[in-house]
Subunit: 350 residues, 4 copies
């Protein structure tokens, strides 16, 4: 895949897309004039205030350049080194960050808690939080990381979030949400930012913008003011405090303005639904997920994947059970892209 | 200082400037279309090749979002945790990174080696590298970090770099260069990138672009191919491997193209020289540095600083001996800005 | 359980026993006179030479005060922070060290590989070592830790060790052996120290003495001379290099002298066999392990455990499936202790 | 120096001595019978109670096998990773622990505060604690480590301790005392354990016993109950929680019993005084310290050191200014040893 590829071809990940025009416009504006460094500029201050409005709560906002950094910083603030981080086996922090959680937390242990649809099962979680609690010989469950939306494109309902948070807090654990696709989940379950974060018991949120229209801007959003000082130093010390922060907050501000983030996410989700509806019922094609978010898993008959790739389509297919393929849609796909893909599959499965 | 401030007012740091138009244009172009993530896109590949051309050497290039991250990653690759990092007391890694070197290196010790003009003295360095070598009770000198240009605006000559590197390598230490103002130093001493890096014994360079026209793009440049795998994992694990890397490499590419980086640095340095020449000889004003780079230290008579600030000028003045002030110029200053400042000082010292 | 308890009562762990008379005599001798500190004394030097004799190989020996420290130091020398440590879910490093491996390795990831009898299954291991090799997004399998004898009292055969080591080395992993009960395993499988360590592919051994007659003396034994310097600094830096090392090496020397370690282990193993033979066939009692080492797992009928505890016996029984109990024998048990226990169980199950 | 050397010869360090007979007797007693592991035995419990009596305060006691481990654990409990540890340039944590503080604290920074007689100067300290407080770019002064007695054999007076603690606490720093030679200092300044620890503002004490009659037993003594849980996990995780803890607490108990520790320290101090008095006034000999503790620094005329060493005396002399030598006395020296040394010097300087 190259930078000359068309959106038609790209379903590998939503991180293959470029940037929304509004984001670019904000960067253009930010490139003018002088600004105080390290987030002391007016723009950064106003964006922090905007986050408080959006979440209807006091927040401490720390822009970062990757979701891995957001997750690592958040987890480090929520567990001591002798703690354990509980998460689903499919979580990004387990599979795709090369040990970043261990690095940022100074060696907290990873403990996996399974469940269907890439969501942590409440009963398994209840058992896990109490295991060897207070036993000096064992790393202590200290924080649970919930991915919303999950790597499978599913999303926890508000009730599910509330139940898991409640189990966590009663057992003395803190709650982290990996929201690399936070906006897609918001749309998928029809919740407000407040409902899906602090009202659901989330202590710190990794707020993703990059996959949904921004360039390189995510953020740690903390709802617990007591963690602000610690996060501030961890953020600096990890090399995440940029001098020209306005180039990150410009992106985040434009992302929140005029519901760009929600509109982008709604569109991306719709594209996945359109794809699902288009593929459903085709001979040999089996829809495996019905997520509402922007990821679609299917089972394809023999040779279909190879035939599609031969036509230039890009998507992952060899990471799961044989025949299972994944399509990720983004704000950058057009309905016509989806329709073309559906036509191609229809043709090939006729 | 706010984003509506004029360049006239800002001499606090070169990180207050915005971005060069060429950088913005590159970002605009990068915002279009799809691209493979994590640096596998064509643009990122071509920029890596461009760095090899510029340095006339094999290089491994790791874009990062801050200079602190660049320094931390570079040092981590050059010292074991039980090693010591030698640097000048004025070095950014000592004073301005909140312990980032200790974080990235997993606890290597900081050892300071003094010298005039913020440059490490060769004799003191020679003594320091051998201190308690092989003694299991003592952290082992493992890497020296040379800042070029220094925090005072001075720059090591090629001979000075070669001497320090030679002492380091003979004693088994590696050499890191903190090049947050690498381009300014290149211009100041009239050297080529190759001469001022690997030919002078530098193993890894923190290559700064942000202060000299980019938005948020610096890079770790390693001249030692054996460190590539380690750096790759450290870079990922520290949350510095961006999915949309093209938005960093677009900046770095435009920075190198058509000598933008050298032209920007030359202009910034010239502005400092113009300021020095303008202030020299004014009653009570004493020029303290004659660096050639884009930082000017002076001694001001009583009340002058306060009077200037009352007019809206911004510069640091209370961090050093009483009366000592610092002006940092950047690519964004105009000759007329400097002339206005000189006029103001002239007026106030009359 | 208190210090006035008799051996009759104690089957919780072999760490409840005191010390062999020979160990005490060595400590008494070491308490006299002066000695050079930090292992530079003659006694420590001679004990290091003794280890080389016993293992018939060059060894670097680092006395430590706990098995957790031995494991942590060994693993740290065998994996970079971005590596992964593979071990069995039952391994002590997973369950009983509160994250010591993560602490010592600066955050290497733990990956579990299952198998029957607390031993890693070769096929599962073969799959695990290759998973996402070279993928920068994933912690890299770097070292496997084999527990010999295992926490269940089983022991790998020489063939099993060789197969696992071969898989590990071919995939670029190093091999660590947690030998907290190394002597018990030696006796159980009838091997020589060399055969069960470096000849079987072990790179570093955590050599346990404490559970088998010593007071507080274990050691890291490295068969790879290239790791000596690194281990030396890690050992010091972790607060494990004692000034009066002779008080540790005195124990280790006496432990090796006159086959004390082998005799103690043989006796402990025999006591477990005697217990197994005595309990086999009793109504409702089911022998679950037939290890040869000094740990016996059984399934007890209802109430038997409670009744035995009421008589003062101490053993673990609530950590596994209902009804499963564990007895650990040591050098300090007498045949008559075992016979008394067997009689008690016989009486209670009649 | 070998284990057959006589006390006459050894003045290198007090860690060259063996063990007091009472310590050995306690170890002998502890070697008998069974005991609950990990400090749950009666002996360990009683020794913890004994420490509370001795210090007249609630204490949490964590036996460790080295002073470096004690210091590392204490500092880790008193500073976050982004904090700074302030100590005197001569402190053991700076010079002789190969970066153990950085390892245990996960990378806190070391900041040096000078002063005469190896004691931190109050004015310099006052300036240091406030430096860049709250500045996110700078590691935050978080704990001061006071060595009592110092490496020079001097001891802080109670007033000096109170002043430094007061400055520390007012600035939000915690206070650690490195008491590797705590007993020698107690005797030197004539204070009670309570006066010289928590009453003087000490939060955690590294309590040394090894140098003063024990074999391998030091302890972290915390006066702040809120730190108990954290210390417990750090202690375990660092591989310092021994299974047969009674072999450490036996030493510590005997050390405290019948004032053994105070008597040993008084004797060691007296031996240094006797040596000082004997050497004072000899031609060319200059007494450099008058500490009261068990370390004596002198300046020797040319050739005297070499001549003494030729007679078999062992002491350090090439670590400081030319001609400066150090003699360390211990509980194991006899008055006659000192007299013989004095005679030798007298003879050689005649």
């Amino acid at each position: 895949m190259t930078s000359t590829a068309t959106p038609l071809q790209g379903y590998l990940s939503d991180n293959a897309a470029g940037a929304s025009p509004q984001i670019l416009a904000a960067m253009t504006a930010a490139a003018e004039g002088l600004a105080a460094p390290y987030g002391n500029d007016e723009l950064s201050q106003s964006v922090r205030a905007k986050f408080a409005d959006v979440f209807d709560h006091h927040v401490d906002v720390f822009p970062v350049c990757t979701g891995s950094a957001a997750n690592g910083l958040a987890l480090a603030a929520l567990t001591p080194p002798w703690g354990a981080v509980l998460s689903h086996p499919n979580a990004h922090i387990n599979n795709d960050e090369a040990g970043a959680p261990e690095f940022f937390t100074n060696g907290a242990r990873s403990i996996l808690v399974d469940g269907p649809d890439s969501k942590i099962d409440a009963d398994l979680f209840r058992a896990a939080v109490g295991r060897r609690r207070g036993d000096v010989h064992s790393a202590q469950p200290s924080v649970v990381s919930l991915t919303q939306a999950t790597e499978s494109g599913s999303a926890y309902s508000l009730d599910e979030l509330a139940e898991l948070s409640s189990i966590a807090h009663e057992a003395g654990l803190r709650v982290h949400m990996d929201g690399a696709r936070f906006a897609n989940a918001l749309i998928a379950i029809g919740a407000t930012p407040a409902e899906m974060s602090w009202k659901a018991g989330v202590d710190i949120l990794s707020f993703g913008a990059t996959k949904n229209g921004a360039m390189t801007a995510d953020a740690v959003i903390s709802f617990d003011g007591r963690l602000a000082t610690e996060l501030q130093f961890r953020h600096k010390r990890a090399g995440q405090l940029t001098s020209k922060m306005r180039f990150q907050t410009a992106q985040l501000g434009a992302y929140l303005d005029d519901d760009l983030w929600l509109n982008n996410a709604r569109h991306a989700n719709d594209m996945a639904t359109r794809l699902r509806d288009g593929l459903a019922g085709l001979p040999g094609v089996k829809i495996l997920s019905n997520s509402g978010a922007n990821i679609l898993f299917c089972h394809f008959p023999d040779h279909l994947s190879a035939d599609l790739r031969a036509q230039g389509y890009a998507f992952y297919g060899d990471r799961w059970e044989p025949g299972v393929v994944r399509f990720v849609t983004s704000f950058a796909h057009h309905s016509s892209d989806i329709d073309t893909l559906v036509s191609s599959v229809t043709e090939l499965t006729r």
